[in-house]
Amino acid sequence: MNIIVCIKQVPDTTEIKIDPVKNTLIREGVPSIMNPDDKGGLELALQMKDKYGANVTVITMGPPQADLILREAFAMGVDRAILLSDRKFAGADTLATSYALAGAIKTLDYDLIIAGRQAIDGDTAQVGPEMAEHLGLPQVSYVIDAERKENGNFIVKKENEDSVQTLEVEGKCVLTVLASAFEARYMTVAGIVDAYNKEVEVWGADKLDVDENKLGLKGSPTKVWQSFPKQLKAPGEVFEVSEEEAVEIIVKKLKEKHLI
């Protein structure tokens, strides 16, 4: 089985601080990490590799620095890593990004495509589903479990707001995965030692099966009109608890929102 996992390098938003004067994000010195939902997706792929035997390829689109998360993926156990890096990809919105990723995937052999539900920097949750549309494949989002049947179909559990659905998907498909369902493994020491001896394939636009006019800024219908800090209007939740419990609740809530 060949599995492709799409991953993205994002700023660690738990480390981001806000400039109190300009109300903008302070990005300097903020570490870059593999997007948590994508890491969950990678974990699902590696679990399938352990269970059924599979060849796992990771793809990311980004600047040359994104090499780091591909090395991390090698150290976690993937077999192949591809970095889509080209000035023509710059300024891409989710549509142009998913189009480029689909254009790369079209040139590869695969049985399953996995992506994270959404990235913590943009929070759109659009790239995975759009990629499925570009490739004409069935998709299941918010996946919390997946197994492969002998006939090549997948039994997939997805989380809804108030229920869990189990679906059977015929053949090739795109799954978008929740980090909370797949606790990602650590890199192994041997994997780390080998990570920089492996080749990260760097692909430009010319390697992809795409119409170059649909890449990057040119292929991006989304334009940012205005950015402003969110005004909090909601009344909030009220907990009547002891001091200790209150601290726990507050810390938990802040962590959930990646504020600490």
């Binding site: 780091l68 991390e72 150290a75 192994t188 020491v189 041997a190 780390i192 030692v193 920089y196």
Partner: protein, 379 residues
Amino acid sequence: MDFSYSKTEELFLQMIRSFAENEVKPLAAEVDETERFPMETVKKMAKLGLMGIPVPRQYGGAGGSVQMYIMAVEELSRVCATTGVILSAHTSLCMAPILENGTEEQKMKYLPKLASGEWIGAFGLTEPNAGTDAAMQQTMAVDAGDKYILNGSKIFITNAAYADVFIVMAMTDKSKGTKGISAFIVEKGFKGFSIGKKELKMGIRGSATCELIFENCEVPKENLLGPLGKGFNIAMKTLDGGRIGIASQALGIAQGAMDETVKYTKERKQFGKAIAQFQNTQFQMADLKTKVEAARLLVRSAAWKKDKGLPYSADAAMAKLFAAETAMEVTTKAVQFHGGYGYTREYPVERMMRDAKITEIYEGTSEVQRMVIAGHLFK
């Protein structure tokens, strides 16, 4: 000159920090309180290849560097010094002498199981009457044809209760003094070998420190490590390497206490402001931070020399001396900065202070380090 971490080391740091924070830190207080050997952590470390970091691939190790190994000891010790010393004794004191002195058969027999973490390693040199004066070995090994018969005892042996393989020094020819000491690889199940009483310690309370007892213990001839009569040399060289590990442990403890103190002094308010805002706090912390960074450079430089195959005996002694004394100073002051709270077990700094003390004592006291350094200086 390049002081930065390599890309591989950066990746390793990312992994080991996250492992220490998520898997080791949550257990640290309980492991100390109950004096419990954290076997579940050792199993997790084994799975990731942490029990065999600097061992070459052909012997089942991860093929990493000494630098990576000492980074692991530092990061683990930053949150739990017990876990740090378990790894240090296993790697520096058991696997290293086999790797450096073993025959191919010995390496193939012992290293894959040790490096995979299936077996845990330990080292026995110290005796009731042979501490800093290690040449006064009383454990005897008598040639009995196809085997040696060992009689005597060892004390203060790290990992002893859970170890499977021990590097043991014993006297094979008393008339020759240090040249009559030989090294042996002893397995847990050897006839006549047993583990004695467990020490109740001030710090690193989760590491199982016990006595080793040899009563007509039968050790096969092929388990002599290195040439006959070279045991003292092997022990001293092993301790040179071990000191880099203990220096890293001390560095980790110091860094952990710094982290806690920075956090606490920013939160704690007295006289209307955070105590971190007082110049007394700032100046003292600036001095401590400088010492911690100096210790780190000494430790990294000693490990770098070992990786390069350069002589590192004096460097290891300087690293251990300075890092251990820094750890003691930082942790003592960390408790002071925490005030009354620092003296309670609610905060980790009192544990760190108790843990730090041993780094000035084991694998050569600070006095021994000064002897080693002076020995190189005045040779």
